[in-house]
């Protein structure tokens, strides 16, 4: 049994870049990804900015080496998962017992919603080809089959924390000797279903979002995928792992189906649980990648929970959603890669568009990119619908 679980690599595709180096360059250049919709077809096209991946399905299919007519969610997943695998230096995937654990929230909904328009006018209408990958698990299988992963395949859907929970389950699979390697993270493409859903909740900002700013009025949706490669001790010994997945916890706010409790109970329990598992004190954390959606509700609950746990030793903090938008099921995976890389490269990411201090909080997010810090421990938060709250901890190899 492997005592520890390591991060051997990572891959990201998002509104700020088609791979990890491109995303990091966008942070350096302070270039967020929110723009008017180019690829999603919606009546709200000009109302809500979104952080779309800057490529159409034909281009993504080329990069992914998959058919163009499958769900964009699978194309994004494949591109990030392959980058993650290649960055690990593990080589031939068939040489290992590998798991693929991927989170997503709406599966192949981008195709289903096109299908549904035809089907509603005629129950025998619509092409079944557009429905066949509707299930969340089907997206995972398209990618697992292309990668050649067979040993353990799973899909998690806990709204905005799906990707983070995939890392926890993946870590347990390694510790229980079920597999030696797990590609874990999440994926989600923008869909009309999600855009309209968030619009009914009245939490979409019509301007680029302002996480942890006192004047924030909501989130921007984004899309993308992000995966880390988790490996056991014995494999890590042969590689140069980025860092260690040193702690994690998942708690439920048990307050409301979509809103966070005012005192951030679930958020606090998740962060505290992750610290406890890692055997760490709050003051040892060097940077927190915030959930930081930019909604009134999230940022105040998350901030109050951080205040309760960390005061007076506040680490550097920022919400990378101010660049990537909220990528939902992908966000936990994307931000896990950013956080693991933060440990490896000593990066502190900027929080774009922060100007006004939140009156409820004694701390402010970091607004400029910097690298080369001595970051021993980094925390990543993912909170969401259904009260699901998850925190991950990444630590320097030691």
């Amino acid at each position: 049994m492997s005592e520890k679980v390591w991060i051997a690599g990572g891959g990201v595709i998002s509104g700020i870049g088609l791979d990890v180096p491109a995303c990091i360059q966008s942070f350096r250049d302070m270039k967020p990804g929110m723009e008017a919709m180019q690829h999603l077809s919606s009546v709200h096209r000009t109302t809500f900015p979104v952080a779309e991946v800057k490529a159409d399905n034909a281009t993504l299919a080329d990069i992914a080496r998959m058919p163009e007519n499958i769900s964009r969610t699978a194309l994004l997943s494949m591109i990030a998962a392959r980058e993650a695998w290649q960055s690990s230096g593990l080589g031939d995937i068939s040489q290992y017992r590998v798991g693929f654990v991927s989170g997503n929230t709406v599966g192949g909904m981008d195709k289903t919603e096109d299908f549904f328009a035809e089907y509603l006018s005629d129950p025998r209408g619509g092409r079944l080809q557009n429905l066949v990958h509707h299930e969340c698990g089907s997206i995972t299988e398209l990618v697992a089959d292309s990668l050649g992963v067979r040993h353990h395949i799973s899909t998690i859907s806990t709204a905005c924390s799906s990707g983070a929970n995939a890392l926890m389950y993946g870590s347990r699979l390694i510790r229980n000797n079920i597999v030696d390697v797990v590609i874990a993270g999440g994926t989600d493409a923008l869909t009309r279903f999600t855009l309209n859903g968030f619009n009914t909740l009245m939490i979409l900002d019509q301007q680029p979002c302002r996480p942890f700013d006192d004047t924030r009025t909501g989130l921007n949706l984004g899309e993308g995928a992000g995966y880390v490669v988790l490996v056991s001790d014995s494999l890590a010994a042969r590689l140069q792992p980025w860092c260690r997945l040193s702690g994690f916890a998942n708690a439920n706010d048990a307050f409301h189906q979509t809103a966070s409790s005012p005192d951030g109970t679930g958020n606090y329990l998740a962060m505290k649980g992750a610290l406890d598992m890692g055997g760490l004190q709050p003051q040892q954390i060097g940077y927190i990648n915030l959930h930081g959606t930019g909604t009134q509700n999230n940022d105040v609950s998350e901030g109050i929970a951080i205040n309760r746990l960390f005061a007076p030793h506040f680490p550097a903090m920022s919400s990378t959603k101010s660049f990537t938008g909220h990528t939902l099921g992908a966000s936990g995976g994307i931000e896990a890669v950013f956080s693991a890389l933060a440990v490896k490269e000593g990066i502190i990411y900027p929080n774009a568009r922060f100007e006004h201090q939140m009156k409820e909080l004694p701390f402010a997010p970091v607004t400029a990119f910097s690298a080369g810090h001595d970051l021993q421990h980094v925390m990543s938060n993912s909170f969401g619908f259904g009260g699901n709250c998850s925190s991950l901890l990444f630590s320097r190899a030691s």
Binding site: E135, H152, A159, A254, F385, G386
Partner: protein
């Protein structure tokens, strides 16, 4: 470490929510779409809330409560669900309105309740449970992944009692669409004749089965959850047989130690062939029970199978309605549940009487 099934709860097309002897009066159907026999949900949920809840949430909450009551546990440390389809009804409602109203004037309720973690979230909300909460949505592995996650967490020692279960619903849209894929019988077949029907296709089912798992044995426990394993897209029958042998070996037993096999036969001649092959190769003389003629086929139907296997161990008898082949021995100690969903998702669950 032993993991005990301290309580179970099941809402299904059979009268499983009432208690009493297992399948004493089986409901017989002659249709290709089965629906759950609903208990009175008011015993667990406020009337005002019931009206807003979709069926999948109600059956999940109901089965979860039945399982906790049976275990004598009020507050589990973790809640883990498996659901392949999630909240189809609310998804369909929101999609339909979005299409018909051209993305205008939509209301949030259906969207809020459409997310796959709604069932686990609602259970946590109703129980006030701040513990670990997860939802697996991987087709024919959703329920098995939930069980495996629970086992790993219990072994880790971070929880004492975990509520884990599988749940899926049928809606008018989903049934119409799945029928277009040719999954179901062209003409209805009687419940007790389904498994011997000489044609392709099965019947659609739905339901929820939950299990309160723990590392200490509660008075209601009759079985241990000894092991769970999944096999994805086996290349040929030999791989399935090898996987079962390895699974038994990992659990320190051989086919001779198994007293009863419970299989996921669904009456589709093509899909049932593998059960014949496995029985011929490993369990030629073993008694076999089946369950999908009783609950229908759905991606988390194995949860009904595990629930039934646990009840068989409790009663030490295979009810006539579930018997498929042979006669179980006097003492039923080890039961192997072998299920597959659409030939691609194979799973094994081993229960041992305690």
């Amino acid at each position: 470490m032993q993991i005990y099934i301290n309580g179970t709860g099941c809402i299904s097309p059979q009268e499983t929510a009432q208690g009493g002897p297992l399948l004493a009066t089986p409901r017989e159907y002659e249709q290709v779409r089965l629906a759950t026999v609903d208990p009175d949900y008011k015993q667990w949920i406020d009337v005002k809330q019931i009206r807003r809840m979709s069926r999948v949430v109600k059956m999940g909450v109901g089965a979860a409560n039945l399982s906790l009551e049976a275990a004598g546990i009020t507050a589990p440390d973790a809640i883990i669900t498996g659901t392949a389809y999630g909240c189809l009804d609310d998804t369909g409602v929101f999609l339909t309105k979005m299409v018909n109203q051209q993305e205008e004037m939509l209301t949030p309720t259906a969207f809020i309740q459409s997310t796959h973690n709604t069932v686990a979230g609602q259970i946590a909300l109703l129980l006030g449970c701040n513990g670990y909460n997860n939802t697996f949505v991987h087709r024919g592995f959703s329920f098995e992944n939930a069980l495996l996650d629970a086992i790993m967490i219990l072994k880790e020692g971070s929880a004492q009692h975990i509520l884990a279960g599988g749940v899926d619903e049928i809606t008018n849209h989903s049934h119409q669409l799945l029928s277009r894929f040719g999954l179901y019988k062209k003409t209805p077949v009687k419940t007790m004749e389904l498994l011997n029907s000489p044609s392709r296709g099965t019947i659609a089912g739905e339901g929820a089965a939950f299990f309160t798992l723990g590392i200490t044995k509660q008075p209601g426990a009759v079985a241990e959850l000894s092991g769970v394993s999944t096999l994805y897209k086996p290349l040929w029958e030999g791989e399935v047989i090898g996987h079962i042998m390895k699974f038994l070996e990992d659990n320190n037993c051989t086919p001779a130690d198994i007293d009863l096999i419970v299989t996921g036969r669904n009456g589709d001649i093509d899909q049932d062939e593998i059960y014949e092959e496995v029985a011929d190769a490993l369990f030629p003389e073993h008694a076999e029970a089946s369950f999908k003629h009783l609950c229908g086929e759905y991606p988390t139907a194995a949860s009904f199978g595990v629930w039934m296997a646990n009840a068989i161990i409790a009663q030490q008898e295979v009810p006539e309605a579930a018997a498929f082949f042979g006669k179980a021995p006097e003492k039923i100690k080890k039961v192997l549940i072998y299920n597959h969903h659409q030939g691609t998702h194979h799973s094994l669950v081993l229960l041992t009487a305690c």
